[in-house]
Amino acid sequence: MIKIAMIGGGAGGLITTSKLSAELSEEIKQEKVSITIFDRKETQEFQPGYLETAFRGTKPEKLKRPVDKLISKGVKIVHANCASIDLDNHQIITEKNQEKHDFDYVIVSTGCSPDYSQIPGLREANMDFYTDAEVSSRIFSTLQTIKSGRIVVGIAGLPYKCPPSPNEAAFMADEYLRRHDMRKNVDITFITPYTRIYTAEPINEVIEPLYSERDIESRTVFNTDSVDPAKKVITSLEGDTVKYDYLFLTPPHKPAAFLKGTDFADDEGWVKVDKRDLHITDHDYAFAIGDTNNIPTSKAGVEAHLEGIVVANNLAMNVTGEGTKHFFTGRTQCSMETGFHHATFVVGTYDRPVEKIKPTVTNYAEKKVMEEIYWASLHGHYEWLFKYHFKRDYFAESPS
């Protein structure tokens, strides 16, 4: 039997195994192939919804579904996290009971999570919309109590997931305060280590005027070094300071701990892969998709999705000997809400720079459609729609 191990049961892991189970349904029925997800968590959360929870008060339970109900037919799950992978010997060891599991193919899709250890004081001072839905809901509880003062949002460190989300936080906080007639009493400051409010110039050209219109202050090239929760001051690496009353910063992110120190990850633990076919360097039976790899694209769900489709296709092709190899195009499709039912998208590929797309209600509606179809899309039910939408960027048929 050919054993396929998926390390991580998030969006990337679920979409990839969904496609694999569809492509290899006959082989699974005949017990020639097994697909197993390894992940301790029992609940999957709709992470793009964290902003809605933080700034619009969506209840955390609305963002959750049991993982067991999201797994496609023919896919098994072991509710244990991976403790280590021995790629040379085709074996993983789980945290739970140190169980050993052999594999023929392995896909790492363990995502990334906030790393508060990099910035002293940040954990004590900050509330974020990345950790989970419950933590995100604390922002809304706080927002409802704000009468005056300064909210600071922005990027505290790199890398982080969902590139537009710090800007969305600025716009959504502004919208909330305006709708509640509190904006005149509350300042909003956006900080970023980049030289622009949004690092890609075409999108910066779109949102910079909105910052002015909405009276959102920005501090570019601000490299957050530390936060003093007692004095409520952020200090940069260069010694500049920003005062805050409420802090909703985006922390730097880290990969899963077991990856750090392995020979297939960089010195921070991001897995080194070929950016076109996602195989782990020197191991053509091992892959890494989504936030956990080191390719030069956004850490966002759409990347995990499109990378997963490529890997599943190629892996199924290896098993069946049929089909053609696919390659990842580097396509991004990150929505950026700009408040008041408007949104833009950050769209680009490895070969095409980010486009200038103005915020519209239509874009906002498209974002909302994605929210509606998210859970079904994890089962692969809307691949026809993604294929239609992404067209030539859905996958490439050659590596360049």
């Binding site: 990099q118 460190g157 790199l158 890398p159 280590p193 980049y194 030289t195 690092t199 890609a200 110039e201 570019t220 090239v221 490299n223 070094d225 200090t235 690496l237 260069e238 010694g239 950016k275 030069p296 680009g348 490895y350 720079p353 980010v354």
Partner: protein, 77 residues
Amino acid sequence: MTIYNVDSKGTACPGPITDLIRAYRKASNGDIIILQATDPGVVPDSKAWCGMTKNELVDTKENNGEYEVTIKVTAKK
């Protein structure tokens, strides 16, 4: 003095500047960051970043579509 060799070849904006900022976080005053990239935007972006952060842009080179930017870290507190 430590020299940080940062390979951003094959990445497009904001890849090189992201890699530069990540290396800068680890570096100390007096250290050198050598940023290699294939994205031509690396030169104006690095110049702007150095100007705004008050770090020293030591040199920029271009050879067959590959760029090398050398920065001396001078602005940390």
